[in-house]
Amino acid sequence: MMSKSKDQTFHLEAKDINVWFGERHVLKDVNLQFPSNQVTALIGPSGCGKSTFIRTLNRMHELIPTAGLAGSVLLDGEDIYDNAVDPSQVRLKVGMVFQKPNPFPTMSIKENVISGLRLSGRKSEISDELVEDCLKRASIWNEAKDRLDEPALSLSGGQQQRLCIARSLAMNPDVILMDEPCSALDPGSTRRIEETILELKATMSIVIVTHNMQQAQRVADKTAFFLADDNQPGYVVEFGDTQQIFNQPVDARTNDYVNGHFG
């Protein structure tokens, strides 16, 4: 694994990101820096472009028809949108956990964990130790250890989501992006995933989109507040330490949002 000791350089950095769908401008001039080994939360009302933004960070955005983009995303100083860069190589380093748990239905629990290695042709890295390690780090090992060969869909929704996290961990990514990973889960599963996130940040950076203010305060070191006015592109209102965003926001709109006055 690469060294994570570069304190001054940002692990992942979005520069002047503008996004369009067709002719519609949906994100304007987003500049965010994601420090190594920290959790960054993206908050904001629905439709402000958080999910769109997070998908630009590992080039999943371009899979949507009519998508357009300007700006650059630097991963350890290299632009992932450079012509010479293969998007699948980017996604190996920047993993993603989706809003809806999406384990592969034709595979068993174990096969799901190693599916990424198979899909990217890294079969030599597959081992039972790796499966166990990933499931442990995603805190689902105790529930799954006796049924590794059962279909992934036999797990409950919260377990499926942790399996998806384990699946990303097997790739040993530098960054994991999470798009509202707990929106479909009960409080117990949510708590487990939050604990997992806090453990994971020792070895990687995490970016998480959430609608849950308490969740952002519990897990995030940094928080970015997104907002979009009616029919206008979304933008970042305020970005800073989580404590500052929630306790001493500079912008009045941030204050209103984190205190539940709109959104």
């Binding site: 590992n58 999943m60 899979l63 028809p65 699948s88 190589q89 980017v90 996604r91 190996l92 993993g95 993603m96 989706f98 809806k100 999406n102 384990p103 592969f104 239905p105 034709t106 595979m107 068993s108 599916s115 990424g116 198979r118 899909l119 990217s120 042709g121 060969d149 059962e150 279909p151 869909l153 036999s154 797990l155 409950s156 998806c164 699946r167 990303s168 790739m171």
Partner: protein, 358 residues
């Protein structure tokens, strides 16, 4: 507090409880119209089709409707009408299907014997008894011609289905229109096309491979459209999940999307084979039917079951018509075996069977 699991009581399905009164009423309501119909048919001697349509259906509607009204009030009437119509139409389709299969069994069974399956028709005249000759050559011919046609069409059809779902190409609309047009193509035109391109121009004599080619445009639209539909049912989240793990689109398709659509793709191939296995006209124009066995698709004549049936019915002798029925029965059994095999091979792994509901 006692948290031990309890045995399931008899009344564990409170929603399924039917009172004795309701049951009696329902049985009486169904028996009465059947009794009236039987009376009209057997005693009064009315044509059974007339009885079913003009006596059984209306009396069933009225009596079940009345029972529904007694049990549930006004809202019971449309319920009853729907139930009666569903059962009636379902039974109607079953009767049609069973009668087709039954008449095939009845008429075809006369010709059926081990020798009918494995012998060919060399030196057998149409008036010879059924103990001579068989359709072995036609079975082999059908398997070879349809087999070659399937080998050609499956890659084309699957590729077309994949093109229509997995790409964002601008040509997809055009391809869909062409496929629709192909689906409407009369099979004789497909035969004529191959005939005029290969036989009239002298490129080839009549041969099995020309028959296989003539079946391709008939099979292609079925396979590609059904493949397209089954791939469309695979949730986009699965593709994103695979791509998000750094998979190339190639691997994401073959390891995630296609396995998820596997049973649909097998169905596509089966429907495609079913579409062409009984085709006669294209084969009449491209493959010369002979009485002997020919294993060579590249040259010479070759009998197939549909053309065999066509020829022997046209001859008109009692024995030749019996042979045609026998061949039709063999064709049906052959298709049944092929479908059973395909379903068996493509059955879901035990992985899916163990699916635990939580």
């Amino acid at each position: 507090m006692n948290l031990e699991p309890a045995a399931r009581p008899e009344t564990a399905e409170p929603w399924a409880r039917t009172t004795a009164r309701a049951r009696v009423l329902q049985i009486a309501g169904s028996i009465l119209p059947i009794a009236i119909s039987l009376f009209a048919w057997l005693i009064a001697g009315v044509n059974p089709i007339v009885v079913v349509l003009l006596v059984l259906l209306p009396t069933l509607l009225i009596s079940i409707g009345t029972v529904g009204f007694i049990l549930k009030g006004k809202r019971g009437i449309p319920d009853a009408a729907l139930i009666v119509m569903t059962f009636f139409l379902g039974a109607f389709v079953m009767v049609l299907l069973v009668s087709v299969v039954w008449s095939l069994l009845e008429a075809g069974f006369r010709a059926l014997s081990p020798q009918f399956i494995y012998q060919n028709n060399t030196y057998v005249t149409p008036t010879d008894g059924l103990e001579f000759g068989g359709v072995g050559h036609a079975i082999i011919g059908t398997l070879l011609v349809v087999g070659l046609s399937t080998l050609i069409t499956v890659p084309l059809g699957l590729a077309t289905g994949v093109y229509l779902t997995e790409t964002r190409s601008n040509g997809r609309g055009f391809v869909r229109v062409i496929l629709q047009a192909m689906a409407g193509l009369p099979s004789v035109v497909a035969g004529l096309f191959i005939y005029s391109v290969f036989i009239v121009t002298g490129i080839s004599q009549y041969a099995g491979w020309l028959g296989a080619l003539a079946l391709v445009p008939l099979m292609l639209p079925t396979i590609s459209r059904v493949t397209e539909e089954s791939l469309k049912l695979v949730p986009q989240e699965l593709r994103n999940g695979a791509l998000g793990l750094g998979a190339s689109s190639w691997k994401a398709f073959f390891q995630v999307t296609m396995p998820a659509a596997k049973s649909g793709i097998v169905t596509a191939i089966l429907l495609g084979v079913a579409r062409v296995v009984g085709e006669t006209a294209p084969l009449l124009l491209t493959v010369f039917p002979i009485a002997g066995t020919n294993l060579n698709l590249l040259s010479g004549g070759m009998a197939t079951l549909p053309t065999y049936i066509y020829r022997f019915v046209a001859l008109g002798f009692d024995t030749s018509v019996a042979r045609a029925w026998g061949a039709a029965l063999v064709l049906m059994i052959l298709v049944g075996i092929l479908f059973g095999l395909a379903r068996y091979i493509s059955r879901p792994k035990s992985l899916k069977k163990k699916k635990v509901k939580r």
